[in-house]
Symmetry: C2
Subunit: 203 residues, 2 copies
């Protein structure tokens, strides 16, 4: 199909498609002439993946590039793909490196989650803990137990659906997009739960 | 204190402070002369609040404005402040209104969370459910039970710490910032849990 049809079928605008082609998120179509290219159903699939990461996951382009690069490379093992996806989702590195890092490390030890010392997730968690502490909220493991338990329950359910190994090619994108979409699911469900519980108790 | 000292004490740059003054997020200082103003400790507190919402919560300025406007107005009841905060955190309205809305409504009924029909949270949840469905993931209540439970547990723990009523002035900002920070806490803890569980099963 031509570019205009690809836009129509995928629901992604032509300027956006051109942008994804330029940044390499979307592979080039088959060249037909100097100004025309042919796109396959795989391009529609790819655009659906990019849309999920961009519009629902609200991830920046750089994060999507990092995730899709790992998802596309079949030599990257599933565990490595997950680590890349988690790091990209954790957000930009903190403005104050080290803020709350010790608190994050202490909490991770206490709850028994072992992360490599160089994981960016430790610093991202540390920034939140520091901010909570600055607001006078307790950040010791007993006080944080409800969130730790909630996070663990969600993570366990998500990983149960991720294959440990096996053929990667078809599943790389699905694994990455699952990590992102279930994160947004939990975020939106928490807001809905807060809203429903708050309305309940004030009525 | 003068602007330069406010920047130093709060750790917020002078251009950022001037931007917050222009947008009304930070109230003006007491005018000393045509080019100088005096800032109080309350300004430092306010900047700490804005930083938490902006840098940790990664909220856009418009969302922070909506949240702080409700937090500042002591006539706004706690339940209303929470609703405003939740709506601002749910993100921009969906590009395709109605996408997944029916699925979201069905899920909310099934889990017993009652939201007003006009709540923007229904559409935000609908967008995620639609995206999951597009990726071939099941979105019926039994399959989503682990995330529903996790969201409910986190929400219950958070609301237990929010006063039902009482003096609002001092607590408005704290209530709003709590909603945002505990959201980021759950997001980052989930990534850490996924990473730790993934590493565990591949070793």
């Amino acid at each position: 199909m031509r570019l205009s049809e690809l836009a129509k079928v995928s629901g992604v605008s032509i300027p956006s498609i051109k942008f994804y082609l330029r940044t390499g998120l979307l592979p080039a179509g088959q060249t037909l002439s100097k100004t025309q290219a042919d796109y396959a159903p795989a391009h529609v699939e790819r655009l659906r993946l990019i849309r999920a990461l961009r519009e629902v996951g609200q991830l920046p382009i750089a994060a999507i590039q990092a995730i899709l690069r790992a998802a596309d490379d079949e030599t990257v093992p599933v565990a490595e793909l997950l680590a890349t996806t988690h790091a990209a989702m954790a957000g930009p590195p903190p403005l104050e490196p080290g803020a709350g890092r010790a608190a994050a490390q202490a909490l991770l030890v206490e709850v028994g989650w072992s992360l490599p010392a160089e994981s960016p997730l430790i610093d991202s968690l540390g920034v939140v803990l520091q901010a909570l502490h600055d607001q006078g909220r307790p950040i010791d493991a007993p006080h944080l137990a409800p969130w730790v338990r909630a996070a663990q329950d969600a993570a366990a359910a998500e990983l149960a659906a991720v294959p440990r190994s096996g053929p990667r090619s078809a599943t790389g994108g699905e694994i990455a997009v699952g990590a992102v979409l279930y994160g947004q699911l939990l975020t939106q469900l928490r807001l809905a739960a807060r809203q429903a519980l708050a309305a309940n108790r004030s009525s």
